[in-house]
Amino acid sequence: MSVHLILFLAFGAVAVAGAINLLAQTHPINSALSLIAVMAALAGEYLLLGAEFVAAVQVIVYAGAIMVLFVFVIMLLNAGVEERTKGSRVAILFGVPGMLLGSLLVTWVVLRYSGTEAVPAGALPGAPRTIGTLLFHEFLLPFEITSILILVAIMGAVVLASKPPTVAPGAPIRRVD
């Protein structure tokens, strides 16, 4: 067993354990923390594949910004322990066997029908410079479109999360013609 395989298995184990813990925990903040563990483990996998820039951005954007937002909202709304309802029991009854079945199916298909070409450690070094060149030449149009997407998302978030104008009780509702 090479060092590469051992590292792959270690990071993979952390990722899968985190994902299963996300499902098993009932408090959203525990789920959020296990998701952060999954993301950190995936950053390790990216490093093994040589994608150092993707790994760094994974940590900065996913673990450092998106998940902070999640934790922030959980804290802000004071989200409590998840309630178990009839719907959720049915969902667990079918969902968990479904997940096992799906995972087994994926595993079987992939292992059965793919060749066993090995990917060496650091196979494709994704240095910031090469990624940037690609991003600003071949993928310039998608890049600009995503910037518009981000702008729309910012404005949407501001509009949605801002407080609705409060109407004093008993005040006549003004019609807008």
Binding site: I29, L33, I36, E52, F53, A56, V57, V59, I60, A63, G64, A65, V68, L69, V71, F72, I74, M75, L76, A127, P128, R129
Partner: protein, 343 residues
């Protein structure tokens, strides 16, 4: 280089850096108390040792022997984990910071940096510091106290907001250098303009430096941006419920973050370990490290100076400053730098 020498060098470097860093953290606290004391016409610590120099040791002993109180109704796993997260990630980011050029001992070249030159060193520091937010946020949430919760909320909102400006203010330097490696960034600042002004990035990026400094002060929750622990409104913010060593861990994390920020400012804007080199060979080997430490010390002093001078922002002022002033300013700086380089 044989692998065992590499490992031995790494272990020795880690031990030295960790020792120096923790001592520096303790003595920055002492320096802060002393300098702020003198600014406010007081003496600061004087009783323990000459000039109160043993005060950090006394404080450390006190922290160790105080009762470690866990209030009821806290969410215990996260309550215990939060200070550890804060201190671990604050100390980790020092690993990629180079303190000087590589030195040659007995024929082996050893870089003065715990890791070897990492290609994405700056990104690593940004990533590690952005994870450090969780320590503060989770401490505020798990304490089950409204003041702590408000402090945690403020801290996470503030850090996420100012991280944007922090990242953008560094891009100007990155454009000038064309590398994420901290060694390359420092190497690009060697030499002089017109033979006498050192070629530091501060002369090319004054606006970027201003944005970096403001954003970094906000990221480390220091005055004038210390809203998360504003004692006049929130008791002590996110660490209200913490005592003894757990409280000390938050303290250590804050000061270690200050030192990281000072190191980054030195490396990115003030030429790192470049400075006048003279004298015999042993002095020539040690002077770069001395210049680096001296510059970091100046930044720490400025931190304390600002603390003794400025009042605290109001929260809406803080957010308005971050989004409506600092972010546009760093964007303008970025565009101006890009145009100037492309010219």
């Amino acid at each position: 280089m044989p692998i065992w020498i590499y490992i031995l060098a790494s272990v020795i470097k880690s031990a030295i850096v960790l020792g120096v860093l923790l001592t520096a953290v303790a003595y920055t606290v002492w320096l802060e108390r002393k300098v702020v004391g003198h600014m406010q016409n007081r003496w600061g610590p004087t009783r323990v040792g000459p000039f109160g120099l043993l005060q950090p040791a006394a404080d450390g002993l006190k922290f160790l022997f105080k009762e470690d109180l866990t209030p009821p109704h806290v969410y215990k796993p996260l309550y215990i984990a939060a200070p550890m997260i804060a201190v671990v990630f604050a100390l980790t980011s020092i690993a990629v910071i180079p303190f000087g050029n590589s030195i040659t001992i007995a024929g082996y070249t050893i870089p003065l940096q715990i890791t070897t030159d990492v290609n994405t060193g700056l990104l690593l520091i940004l990533g590690v510091t952005s994870i450090g937010i969780y320590g503060v946020a989770l401490a505020g949430w798990s304490s089950n106290n409204k003041y702590s919760l408000l402090g945690g909320l403020r801290a996470s909102a503030q850090m996420v907001s100012y991280e944007v400006s922090l990242g953008l203010s560094l891009v100007g330097v990155l454009i000038l250098t064309g590398s994420f490696s901290l060694n390359d960034i420092v190497a690009a600042q060697g030499g002089h303009f017109w033979g006498f002004i050192p070629r530091y990035n501060i002369f090319l990026q004054p606006v970027g430096f201003f944005c970096y400094l403001m954003a970094a002060y906000a990221e480390t929750n220091r005055i004038p941006f210390d809203l998360p622990e504003a004692e006049t409104e929130l008791v002590a913010g996110y660490h209200t419920e913490y005592s003894a060593m757990k409280f000390a861990m938050f303290f250590m994390a804050e000061y270690a973050n200050m030192i990281t920020v000072a190191c980054l400012a030195t490396l990115l804007f003030f030429g790192g370990w470049h400075g006048p080199i003279f004298g015999p060979e042993i002095l020539q080997a040690l002077l770069p490290v001395f210049w680096f430490v001296a510059k970091v010390f100046v930044f720490l002093f400025v931190y304390i100076w600002v603390r003794g001078t400025l009042p605290r922002f109001r929260y809406d002022q803080l957010m308005a400053f971050g989004w409506k002033f600092l972010l546009p300013l760093s964007l303008v700086n970025l565009i101006a730098t890009a145009i100037a380089v492309a010219w």
